[in-house]
């Protein structure tokens, strides 16, 4: 499983000289499964560059949306493969009692917000509500679960080749809860992230900023680290950077994260801030021969 970060920013794109290293594009992670299947986790503005990186040939891909806030869907109408007739796109997302996934996304991909309508997209596009149970895409098993954020929001766990990727970019598990004291099954998102090979998790706020943003649906640095520690994730990438955070400020936050992580008993190289363009290769793990017993 290969993982690449195409957009690490939260809330709104924030291009400029102050954000050039960590990137200004909003949430999008590309995943290539061991059988070659392609996934895009969220469709923020980062998905535009993901689309440009794909060859102009028949393609089938799955877009897994955590939720429909604009910073997670804004790139859909600038995703080049969507404008090719030979592309098949399956868009997965959270169900809502209010309207279908297609209709809710259609509010963005329609006038006056968009020059094109969903029905005008040349590609073969379909919309599916994520099931409550696990399902398969290519060589992976996918598990989606509701997590603490504003509005219907999912996190994902993708298991492939003996590895697991947990993707929970918008998450406030510590809202009204003490993550260090709660039982595991009472922690939002715990089952998704448990012992994950790679956890990509909300780390939008510095601790000093969080009190002004309680209930906004995002984590402070300390909360993100507590969640990572409790779940036992092997490696954690902090994601969904605040648009006001410059590269310099994110460098400081990254150092703070490494120090706090080592104080929690972890290894500094297993915690980092997401950088646009960064890639993570998760080589297939061969099951132990002793397990055949």
């Amino acid at each position: 499983m290969d993982v690449r970060l195409w957009g690490t920013r939260g809330s709104i794109p924030s291009p400029g000289p102050e954000t050039i290293r960590y990137g200004g594009n909003t949430s999008c992670v590309g995943v290539t499964l061991s059988d070659g299947s392609l996934l895009a986790l969220d469709a923020g503005t980062g998905i535009r560059n993901l689309g440009l990186s794909l060859p102009d040939e028949p393609t089938r891909l799955h877009i897994l949306l955590t939720h429909l806030h604009l910073d997670h869907i804004q790139g859909l109408v600038f995703f080049a493969p969507a404008f090719r007739a030979q592309t098949e796109i399956v868009i997965w997302g959270p169900a809502s009692p209010e309207a279908s996934l297609r209709d809710r996304i259609g509010r963005y991909i329609s006038a006056p917000l968009s020059p094109v309508e969903v029905r005008e997209l040349p590609c073969d596009v379909s919309f599916r509500h994520c099931p409550e149970t696990e399902w398969e895409i290519g060589s992976a098993r996918i598990h989606a679960a509701s997590v603490a954020h504003r509005g219907p929001t999912l996190g994902y766990r993708i298991e492939d080749g003996g590895n697991s990727l947990a993707y929970i970019p918008d998450h406030e598990p510590a809202l009204g809860a003490d993550l260090d004291a709660l039982e595991e099954d009472w922690i939002s998102g715990f089952a998704l992230a448990r012992d994950a090979s790679l956890l990509i998790h909300d780390g939008q706020y510095a601790d000093r900023e969080y009190p002004e943003h309680v209930g906004w649906g995002h984590s402070s640095l300390s909360h993100a680290l507590s969640f990572a520690r409790r779940t036992g994730a092997e490696r954690t990438v902090l994601f969904h950077h605040d648009p006001l955070h410059t590269d310099e400020q994110l460098d400081e936050l990254g150092e703070e994260a490494k120090q706090a992580w080592t104080e929690l008993g972890g290894e500094a190289e297993n915690i980092e801030l997401g950088v646009e363009g960064a890639g993570y290769e998760l080589p297939a793990r061969v099951p132990s021969a002793t397990a055949t017993g």
Binding site: S146, L175, G176, I187, S188
Partner: protein, 134 residues
């Protein structure tokens, strides 16, 4: 591993911050949490008691009707709420661990989600005395 539904997690988080006694049951009617205010009423914190079944709960705390008779489990507002998906209200007495009886009014409502009923919440109030009106 199994994970509590998010709606129950958020309900517990909210209840933890309330000073009104509140109880939470899962979709099967099993008591899975009560807050510190409820713990003060009962004389035992949830962390001390843990999850208990209906029989043990009844033996410890009741509840009892105005004649002092135990109220059947199936008639409790929380159980009615979670099974019928409807709000329920009742007045009864519960007994704390020191033997003190407390008359309370109980309002329970189900936690309905896109995936059906996930449980119910009950909030306890000191029973209103006659003539208070509100």
């Amino acid at each position: 591993m199994s994970q509590r539904p998010l709606e129950l997690i958020l309900a517990r988080n909210l209840m933890s911050a309330l000073s009104t006694p509140a109880f939470l049951v899962d979709e099967g009617g099993l008591l899975v949490f009560y807050n510190d205010a409820a713990g003060l009423l009962l004389g035992k914190r949830f962390e001390e008691l843990g999850t208990v079944g209906a029989d043990e709960w009844g033996a410890l705390f009741g509840p009892f009707d105005s004649e002092g008779e135990p109220i059947p489990y199936d008639e409790l507002p929380l159980v009615v709420a979670v099974r019928n998906g409807r709000p329920a209200h009742a007045t009864f007495a519960i007994r704390s661990t020191d033997g003190t009886s407390h008359e309370v009014e109980v309002s329970a409502f189900p936690i309905l989600t896109a995936h059906g009923s996930q449980g119910a919440i009950a909030v306890f109030w000191p029973a209103a005395t006659n003539g208070t009106g509100s």
